[in-house]
Symmetry: C2
Subunit: 353 residues, 2 copies
């Protein structure tokens, strides 16, 4: 932050995307720390007007000049665009907060979740700070609080990932497929859903309506998906546990927005349900919602549009007094993307105060 | 089996239910070992005619006389009906194969999966043999094969359970909810799906369309659900591993039929992916379908209506050379219920040969 005095100027790069739209709503509702908010997108979106903080703002094309006078830039763009443009902005003195996968595992780029490792934001030799993948973010605030108290030793995670994690094309694909299968008897005979939805599986390798698809991301070595590797590697980096064993299987489900995860977490010593519940209930950014007898546990349709990480089904493993079972749910577009980026940007803005 | 010579008489008790309907289709297509097939149901269904083996058969009311001359009876009825009527049939010399939860953990009742523990069928002091819960059955054939080779030490399981596991009411509820939300923009704002489906959550505690619900079954001690406890206890009994650590979270998903599960399985020594794949590929009743680069992994819409347990996403855990990650999928009404019961009945019939 080279400039001081006036409120900092913020650039939102990728303002017209799915996460960008959520970002503009978040910026309109949070305590306002920004001077100018500049909206940046691809040249074909330049000239569009979008509402933020109750004002119409014209979108400017991504270029070196777009960063003139900018203090902080939030990037919500594909990996290759971030990889090219974040260093250009950083070279102009802009602090870049990047929500792509381009820099998350770069040892010179901190990977920040404000509730867990806010301190890491100040070590940024490249001028770039990364925000984690939505799947990691949907569980890490709750896990970070439990780790701080109990000391994490091992994780086994399964995901129930919403289609909006694959962007607008993911949402459009589910909606189109649902309109083809709703009101039918489909789903009880082999292949009938596949025939109904035809070739239109969009960003998914299989039909996602009336189905679950055990794949998210691209192919990595030894049969792993990129979402699985990211969840393991990012969790290790954020918690500072370089050798934490993490086993994970990522599965896409026909939910529009809000990721859910089952978590089997083993700690250094014995845990109690009462202790775990108190940690979860008092951790910032986390809500305990756990009373099965009253039908209370978090589900995506109730969590969508909210900021916290919701935790339910808190149990101590029946056969291991050092392990907990949890069901965790969070909005993948808010805390899973835009909100965490905005929180990091606010930490940077606060450095000036 | 007191009678010999003629082909045995089979009674299907609960012939008019969701599993009963699948049972009649299965009996019509498998190698036919039965003499008479008698269809039994509640008095209000008596007189209905149902097709089996290409013939119309009149349903008779459940009564002591309904078991006259019967050698083997398959029960697909609620727990309380099974608890009352299975001993009555057994007292008349009928071998009862029960698909309810009433007898599964009774030490004097074997819990049988023919591919895994066919031998157990002969120890039946009460004349009753139990078939496992659909969730257990959706994974146990694959796990049994891996256990026979590697020796299982620990399981962590998460489920993706189809609505037909809650019977016809479950399927009707999903279909009704889908018709209310399909073609809308619902799913991106808090509570909009809940408002659209109203109070009609059927057998589920929350809306199941566009949602996942971390609950299946009834409330047990310490926050566990009955489906979770059953999966643990039945797996231990079938595999003969009384102290196997099993951690499980059961989740309902908006799929009509075919349960899926993620499995983290730890064994006595090091495992290899090549070895695991060969075991899975050659095990009876199991299909290996595992080539992510070609988009090949099992999903419910492809597995529904088929007999085997499908296994994909076979990986060795990155941080534990003794553990495997799997994604397993099976038709909860076929192998998960009717087919396993029919297979056990055929084992009993073969005792006469």
């Amino acid at each position: 932050m080279s400039r001081s005095g006036a409120r900092p100027t913020l650039a939102v790069v990728g303002a017209t995307g799915a996460v960008g739209a959520v970002m503009l709503r978040i910026l309109s509702h949070r305590a306002d720390v920004w001077g100018e908010i500049r909206l940046v997108a691809s040249p074909r979106s330049a000239g569009r007007k979008l509402a933020v903080r109750g004002e119409e703002v014209e979108v400017v094309a991504l270029s070196e000049e777009a960063f003139d006078g900018v203090d902080v830039a939030m990037f919500d763009v594909p990996d290759d665009i971030a990889e090219r443009w974040a260093p250009i902005a950083a070279a102009k003195g802009v602090v870049v907060i990047d929500n792509s996968g381009a820099f998350r595992l770069d040892p010179e780029v901190p990977l920040v979740v404000p509730e867990v490792n806010a301190h890491a934001v100040r070590q940024r030799p490249r001028g770039i700070i990364a925000s984690p993948h939505c799947t990691t973010l949907s569980m890490i605030v709750a896990l970070g609080a439990l780790h701080a108290e109990y000391g994490l030793r091992e994780l086994v995670v399964s995901t129930y990932q919403a289609v909006s994690g694959a962007g607008r094309a993911g949402v459009d694909t589910l909606r189109r497929q649902l309109s083809l299968v709703a009101g039918t008897e489909l789903g009880t005979n082999p292949g009938d859903v596949r025939r109904a939805v035809g070739e239109g599986t969009g960003p998914f390798p299989e039909p996602v309506a009336l189905n679950v698809v055990p794949w998210a991301g691209s192919v990595r070595a030894d049969g792993w998906s990129s979402d699985e590797m990211q969840l393991r590697d990012e969790t290790r980096k954020i918690l500072g546990l370089a050798k934490l064993p993490v086993a994970v299987t990522c599965v896409r489900v026909p939910v529009v927005t809000a990721h859910a995860l089952t978590v089997h977490a083993r700690f250094q010593g014995e845990v109690t349900v009462a202790g775990a519940r108190e940690i979860i209930a008092t951790a910032p950014g986390v809500v305990l919602f756990d009373n099965p007898e009253a039908g209370e546990f978090p589900t995506p349709v109730d969590v969508v549009g909210t900021d916290p990480t919701w935790v339910g089904r808190v149990r101590r493993s029946l056969d291991d007094p050092t392990a907990l079972e949890l069901f965790v749910c969070g909005d993948n577009l808010r805390k899973g993307a835009a909100l965490n980026t905005a929180q990091i940007a606010e930490l940077v803005a606060a450095e000036r105060a």
